[in-house]
């Protein structure tokens, strides 16, 4: 019995401490931010963009949760944000189909949802996207031009079923097939978004293909990994990434990475936040069609990368 009281003491202490933090979070709008994982440059940058925009409008920062790349976790966290009575949720769906139900549920309870990059199957308030498919196509175009419409290309993939990566790859493949029939895709392997794994995968490509002209990695991390592998093998390969995170921009300047599809993630986040505040002021609750806001990425290469100011590097 006495023991039990000890536990109580411990926990009460713990929660009082925590309560301190939570108390301040009770003004204006309660906005939830639920990316696929918060441990990534992109999602971090979004978060910063969102919070800055909210602060500017005198709103407390968003409640950020970490779904750790698991759709189940993200769904249950959606439920949690709903139960917490958020006014609006900014969501980067890990999977379009998997999150549709949650988005429906939220909006049925009068909580507008803004999706980032990945749309869901159900109509909701808005989707602020950098258009993965289009950007993939854009890179394919660049590669095709640089190779003069002929050569061997490999793709470093995201895990199967990871929508963002898949769409980028689809755009890339579609354009090559359409406009550059002589550019051969000699390999496509998954490196699980991971730089270290990308090194091994790239090494594989380099071994398997004595002639490899270009590599498209569906995110910057993997592009950087590919760069490391190419460098240590002493082979020259065009390497394209995706997202345009700060480190990759630097590597583009150093000439290690050829180019990337750069989006100003800060802006994207801010855009979402501004939309959020608008709709909350307007008080609209039901949405028949998703209003898609495209934050178009542009191709950052050695020539134009300098034009990206430090303030918009993330």
């Amino acid at each position: 019995m006495l023991k039990t009281r000890k536990f109580e003491a411990v926990f009460v202490a713990l929660f009082l401490l925590v309560a301190g933090m939570s108390l301040s979070a009770q003004t204006n709008y309660k906005i939830g931010y639920l990316p696929s994982t918060i441990g990534q440059a992109l999602t971090k940058a979004w978060g910063v963009g969102i919070d800055n925009a909210l602060k500017a409008a005198g709103n407390p920062p968003a409640i950020a949760l970490d779904a750790m790349m698991k759709a189940e976790t993200q769904v249950s966290m959606m439920d949690d944000l709903i139960n917490q009575g958020c006014n609006l949720i900014i969501l980067q769906p890990i999977d379009a189909a998997a999150l549709t139900a949650s988005v429906k549920k939220a909006e049925s309870k009068g909580i507008p949802v803004i999706t980032l990059n990945t749309d869901t199957l159900a109509p909701h308030f808005a989707c602020v996207t950098m258009d993965d498919f289009g950007a993939g196509a854009m890179i394919a175009d660049a590669v095709g031009k640089q190779l003069g419409g002929k050569g061997n290309v490999a793709i470093i993939q995201s895990p199967p079923g990871a929508l963002a990566g898949v769409n980028r790859e689809k755009g890339f493949r579609a354009t090559l097939a359409k406009d550059y029939p002589n550019v051969k895709i000699v390999g496509a392997q998954n490196a699980e978004w991971d730089k270290n794994k990308a090194i091994a995968v790239m090494n594989g490509f380099l071994q398997a293909n004595k002639q490899l002209d270009a590599v498209f990695a569906v995110n910057d991390n993997m592009a950087e990994g590919a760069a490391i592998a190419a460098e240590s093998a002493g082979r020259h390969v065009l390497i394209y990434g995706f997202n345009g995170q700060m480190s990759t921009l630097a590597q583009i300047e150093q000439g290690k990475v050829t180019g990337t599809a750069y989006t100003n993630a800060y802006d994207q986040g801010a855009t979402a936040a501004k939309l959020a505040l608008q709709v909350l002021k307007a008080g609209t609750k039901t949405f028949t069609k998703t209003d898609v806001v495209i934050v178009p990425p542009f191709l950052a290469t050695k020539d134009n990368v300098g034009s990206i100011p430090a303030s918009s590097r993330w």
Partner: protein, 336 residues
């Protein structure tokens, strides 16, 4: 017996204490919606944990449960996209996945005496791959997850009154499994197999059968969970459940079932899962940075298990002392 039930009471006390603390600290904790979600989360882990408990009682371990969820979900997805077989028919079939995997594990464990951990870890890999291979693909050959609309299938994600069906099923399964363990010969055999295999064999128990049984049941439970998860999310993904093993293990161990086998029961596991779900759910409510949340969860798990171990050793020490005293007096009287 007594010790176990006292430990149980302490855990319940903890549960209530934390619950109370949370409802004081967060407005949104003590709402019907939230409590029901909490139970839903707990049930999702719990259904798997029930099967896992039996494995642990035989002093084994099953790392493949997560992957079983994935494969089962994908099987259902295939039925839904490529066939017109009604859900009522193919769901029972897809539950066979878990049974098959369990038999597979049981086979390698019993026939080749391979360590359970590595066998099930291997089948985890095999299944994870399988899930991707059978995943529903689009025209370009990319995994595209179906959006399930079959009403019968979706009904599993639904509620009866405010209570989620999964929760009801969870408690029903808990009750049945518990009575199986305590009230049937097969159940007793499971304990015997875990506590002292040679002795069990000597008393004519077919330990191999018990082992096959528990792994198949564990897989079966995972498959059931898969149905509920996918119908809650209205889709099936090839990575469903993978990685959830750790939550399951934590719940079961917090529930007081040790790795050494021979002891443990389902009500403990139920409490364990509730406990873990409570912590996870509560943490989200407190507006702590998501960075701190894992620290809190990990810390609480360690603390709880430490306290449990402490209490257990203390209580058993007393039991043994009293037994020794009794014995000494007994032998004295006999000697005199």
């Amino acid at each position: 017996m007594l010790i176990a039930s006292r430990r149980r009471l302490i855990l319940i006390g903890l549960l209530l204490a934390i619950g109370a603390a949370l409802s004081l600290l967060s407005r949104s904790f003590l709402t019907l919606d939230n409590l029901m979600t909490l139970l839903q989360e707990a049930s999702q882990t719990g259904i798997v944990a029930i099967g896992f408990t039996l494995v642990l009682i035989t002093a084994g371990i099953d790392m493949s449960i997560g992957a079983v969820i994935a494969v089962t979900a994908m099987v259902c997805a295939n039925f839904l996209t490529y066939t017109h077989i009604p859900a009522a028919l193919f769901i029972p079939m897809s539950l066979g996945v878990g049974l098959l995997v369990g038999a597979f594990n049981g086979f390698f464990i019993t026939r080749f005496k391979l360590p359970e951990f590595i066998v099930t870890l291997a089948s985890r890999g095999i299944l994870a791959g399988l899930a991707l291979i059978i995943a529903v693909k689009d025209s370009m050959g990319f995994v595209s997850n179906v959006y399930i609309q079959d009403p019968v299938y979706l009904s599993f994600g639904g509620t009866i009154g405010p209570v989620y069906i999964i929760t009801i099923v969870f408690f029903a399964m808990a009750f049945l499994t518990q009575s199986f363990l305590k009230r049937t010969r097969a159940g007793t055999n499971v304990y015997a197999t875990g506590a002292n295999p040679t002795a069990a064999r000597l008393s004519g128990i077919n330990t191999k059968r018990s082992i096959y049984g528990v792994y198949m049941f564990s897989g079966f439970c995972a498959s059931i969970a898969a149905i509920f998860i996918s119908s809650r999310m209205m889709t099936a993904m090839p990575d469903f459940g993978i990685g959830s093993e750790m939550d399951v293990i934590a719940s079961v161990v917090i529930g007081g079932t040790p790795f050494t086998g021979g002891v443990g029961d389902i009500w403990g596991t139920v409490l364990g899962t509730l406990f873990l779900a409570l912590i996870k759910n509560g943490i989200l409510k407190l507006g702590i940075s998501p960075y701190v949340q894992p620290i809190a969860i990990g810390g609480i798990i360690v603390v709880v298990v430490i306290l449990d171990v402490w209490y257990k050793s203390y209580a058993e020490g007393q039991a043994r002392r009293s037994a020794r005293r009794a014995r000494e007096s007994d032998s004295r009287s006999a000697a005199a």
